[in-house]
C-alpha cells in the first residue's frame, strides 16, 4: 500500500481504511496493487542502473516488514571501483537521483561499506529532506547504525516483534547483549544479519545479470543520437575491449552492446562469432546491420560493450609461406559471421553426415557458426555413382503411378498435373526402416513392412530423371502408394 505525496498533503495515510480516506478526500483515486507490474518496473529500473555498474541485483528481501510504509523491494548496486568514473560517490548518487526524479520516481539511498549497513541507512536514516546517506569508508559502521531501529537488520516480522518485546528496539541495543542466549532464542539469523551489517561476516549477493569478465564503457556529457556517433563510440569501445582481450589471450564468441537511453530504457544488441575473434574492424562490421534498427529515443548518454562469452585465442604465428590455410579459414569464419549477423545464425548452415541410411536423414544441416570441422572421409555411402539426388525433397510427394507389375518399376506417372512416360528405370533399391529406432508402442501396432521403400531411378521421355519410391510391400487388393523424393540432373 502506498500513498502519493498529493494525497499525503490531504491527510491520507498508509494503513487507513478506504472509507476513512474517502471521507478525508472524496476525489481520492484508488488503484489496486499490481505486484507483477511493480516487479517489471523494478527490473527495467535495474537495467537502467547498469549504466553505473555491471553489478546490479534486485533486493531479495520482499515484504514481511513490521512497518507498513516499506514495501521491501529495492535495488542493490555494487559500485566498488565504479565511483571514480562519475567523479566520486556523491556525484554518482546525485546523478542517480536526478535520473530517477526526472522519470517520476521518489527514491532513498544508503551508501556504506557493507550491504547490510547500506540497506539499513537507506530505509531508516534517509528521509524526504535528505534522501541519500553516505557513510564514507573507514567511518565507524557500529556507531552509525546504533541509533537505527531493529527493523534495519532485515529480519522477519516475528523476530523483530520478539526482540522489541525484550526491549531491544535499536540496533545499538544488540551490541551489548550476550550473543549465546540471543542465538539460542531467535536462531542464528539475528546475529548473522548483525555481523553482515557490521562487516564482520561476508555477504554474497548475486547480480541480476552475470557480470562479464571483459567490459568497456563510455559515458557522454551530452546524449548522442546520430548513427555516426554511435558508430564512433562502438569503435572506441571495441578498441579498448580488444586490447584487454589480447592481454588475456581471449577471443570473443558473444558480444552484447548496451545503449543506455536518457529515458531509462536500455537497448541491447547482440552479435556472435563462429570462431573466437578480437579484430575490432570485423566485430564492428557485425553490428552494422543491427545498429540501423536502433531507436535512440531522446538520446543515448552511456554505452557499454560486454564480451559475454569468450574463448581462448592465442596469437598465431603466420608461417613463412603465408599460412594460407589458416587465414583462409579465418576469412571463412568472418564471412559466416557477417552472413549470420544479417540473415540469422540458423540460416547459414553446413552439411554433416549422420549415422542413418534413410536418405532424408543421412545428410543433416547444422548451423555453420561453431560447427565442428567435418572431413570428407566422414561422408560414407555411395561415393561417385549418383545413386542419391542432389535435390532431395524435404517431404516426399505422392504421385499417381501406373506399373505393369505390382512390384516393378512404373511405366507412367503423373506429377504436378503432367504425365511422364518412363523411358528407362533402374532399381529397385530397397531401404528398410531402422527398426532399432522405433519406440516400443509403435513396434507392435505398425508392421515394419509398411515402411519399406523400394526406390527407382527413372528417366522420362524428355530425359528428366526422378527418384521415385513405392512404400510398403505388395498386398493383394491394396493399391501401392508411390512417392517422388528427388531429382537427378
Amino acid at each position: 500500500m502506498a500513498v502519493s505525496p498529493a494525497a499525503q498533503r490531504e491527510g491520507v495515510q498508509v494503513g487507513q481504511s478506504l472509507a476513512d480516506a474517502r471521507a478525508l478526500y472524496p476525489a481520492l483515486t484508488v488503484r489496486h496493487a499490481d505486484p507483477a507490474a511493480d516487479l517489471k518496473a523494478l527490473d527495467s529500473l535495474s537495467a537502467a542502473c547498469e549504466r553505473y555498474t555491471p553489478w546490479v541485483a534486485l533486493d531479495p528481501f520482499g515484504g514481511g516488514m513490521g512497518t507498513a510504509n516499506l514495501s521491501g523491494a529495492g535495488l542493490w548496486l555494487d559500485i566498488t571501483g565504479c565511483a571514480h568514473l562519475f567523479r566520486g560517490e556523491e556525484a554518482l548518487l546525485n546523478d542517480l537521483f536526478h535520473r530517477l526524479n526526472t522519470s517520476g520516481y521518489r527514491a532513498r539511498a544508503g551508501l556504506a561499506a557493507t550491504a547490510g549497513a547500506a540497506w539499513a541507512l537507506s530505509r531508516f536514516a534517509a528521509h524526504e529532506h535528505n534522501p541519500s546517506i553516505i557513510l564514507p569508508t573507514g567511518q565507524n559502521i557500529t556507531s552509525a547504525l546504533a541509533s537505527l531501529p531493529i527493523d534495519g537488520l532485515r529480519l522477519d516480522g516475528n523476530t523483530v516483534e520478539g526482540l522489541e518485546r525484550m526491549g531491544l528496539r535499536k540496533i545499538g541495543d544488540l551490541y551489548t547483549v550476550p550473543r549465546a542466549p540471543l542465538s539460542g532464542r531467535f536462531g542464528g539469523a539475528v546475529l548473522r544479519r548483525l555481523d553482515q551489517a557490521l562487516g564482520t561476516l561476508d555477504e554474497t549477493l548475486s547480480p541480476r545479470r552475470p557480470c562479464p569478465a571483459f567490459e568497456a564503457r563510455l559515458t557522454f556529457a551530452d546524449p548522442i543520437r546520430r548513427r555516426e556517433d554511435i558508430d564512433a563510440a562502438l569503435t572506441r569501445l571495441l578498441e579498448q575491449l580488444c586490447t584487454d582481450l589480447e592481454r588475456a589471450t581471449q577471443g570473443v564468441r558473444q558480444l552484447v552492446f548496451s545503449l543506455f537511453r536518457v529515458d531509462n530504457i536500455v537497448v541491447r544488441v547482440q552479435a556472435g562469432t563462429s570462431r573466437p575473434n578480437r579484430d575490432p574492424v570485423h566485430l564492428a562490421h557485425l553490428f552494422q546491420e543491427k545498429l540501423e534498427k536502433i531507436d535512440p529515443g531522446f538520446g543515448i548518454d552511456a554505452v557499454a560493450l560486454a564480451a559475454v562469452e569468450t574463448n581462448a585465442l592465442t596469437v598465431r604465428q603466420v608461417g613463412l609461406d603465408g599460412g594460407v590455410d589458416n587465414t583462409n579459414r579465418e576469412n571463412t569464419a568472418k564471412l559466416v559471421d557477417r552472413l549470420g549477423g544479417r540473415l540469422g545464425v540458423g540460416r547459414i548452415t553446413r552439411l554433416t553426415p549422420a549415422a542413418s541410411h534413410l536418405p532424408e536423414q543421412a545428410s543433416q544441416e547444422i548451423p555453420a557458426s561453431g560447427a565442428p570441422e567435418v572431413d570428407c572421409k566422414d561422408w560414407t555411402g555411395p561415393a561417385r555413382r549418383p545413386t542419391r539426388p542432389m535435390q532431395l525433397l524435404v517431404q516426399p510427394l505422392p504421385i499417381e503411378v501406373m506399373a505393369p507389375v505390382p512390384d516393378g518399376p512404373p511405366v507412367l506417372f503423373r506429377w504436378r498435373r503432367r504425365q511422364h512416360r518412363v523411358r528407362a528405370a533402374e532399381g529397385p533399391e530397397r531401404i528398410t526402416p531402422e527398426w532399432w529406432r522405433i519406440e516400443g508402442d509403435n513396434r507392435d501396432t505398425r508392421p515394419l513392412s509398411n515402411d519399406v521403400r523400394d526406390y527407382y531411378r527413372v528417366e522420362d521421355e524428355d530425359g528428366k530423371r526422378f527418384w521415385l519410391y513405392r512404400e510398403g510391400l505388395y498386398h493383394p487388393g491394396l493399391p501401392p502408394a508411390w512417392y517422388i523424393h528427388g531429382f537427378f540432373a
Partner: protein, 294 residues
Amino acid sequence: MSATVIHKPFRPDPDVLRALRKQIQAIERHAPAKILNTDQNNAQQDETNAFVSSRFHSQTISLGAVEIDAALPWNGFPVQGLHEVFGDVAAHGFSAALVARLAKTKGGSAPILWCQQGRDLCGQGLMAYGIDPSQVIIVHGKNDTDILWAMEEGLRSACLSAVIGQLYRVPPIAGRRLQLAAEENGVTGILLRATPGKTVTQAPTAAALTRWRVLSAPSLTPAYGIGLGKPNWNLELQRCRLSALQGSGQDKKQETLGRPQSWQVEWCDETGDLSVAPILRDGSVEPQRLKAVG
C-alpha cells in the same frame, strides 16, 4: 585530302579504335589510366589476344570437352566472373559439375557458398557430382534480396572458390554489382535460374560473362540394355559478353568465338567430364531434341 576520305565507305581508324577499346577496358578493370599510353610494340600485337589476356590473366578451367572449351573466347571456362545458367533440372547438374571443378582451383579446400531458399540440398547427392559436402556453406535466404546480398558478400571475400545462387529475379544493377565483385576478387559466381519441374522464364542478366541454357535430353541405353545410361544434356551457350565487345573484321576463327552454339553433351559421373555426343547417333530421339533446343 579530306575530300577523298568522304567518298570512301566509313572505316574507323584502327589506332583510334584500339585506343578506345583500351580505354573501355581500363574503365572496366579500374586499371590506372597509363594503360592508354601504349607504345608502338604493344599496338602491333593481336588485339583480341591482348584483350583476353589482360582482362582475365587467362585463368580458366576446362569443361572436359575440347569442343566446348574452344568455343569460348577464353579457351576455357573463365574463373573470374559471373555466369548464368538457365534450364530445367539439368541446369542444376551442369552447375554442380562446374562447381565441382571450380572447388579444386584454390588449393582444393576453399569453401563453396551455396545460396538458395529451399532446404533440399543433399550431401550424398553433392558427393555424386564430385563436390565435397563439407566444403559447402549453405545460405538459406528468405527472398531474392537476401540471396543477392549473400552472394555479393561471398564474392567480395576472396576466400571462397565459388558462389552459387538460386534466384528468380535479378535486377540489372544487382547483376552488375555481382559481376564486378566476382571480377575484382577472382571468385566465380553462378546464377542458377532453374527450379526442378518447371523452366524459369525470367529476364537474363546482361552483366554475366556467359549465359547457358541446359535442358535434359534422353540418355542412351547402356550397352547391357538395362538401367540408366549417363545423363545427357542439351547444352546451349546463348551469349558471351566478350563477343559483344568485339568489332567486325576479325578472322574466321575469332568470329565463331563466343557465338551462340549448342551441343548435346554427356556427363560422365566417374571423371566429372562433359563430352560432346555425336549428333544423329540416335535417330529416334533427334526430332525431339531439335524441338527442345529450338
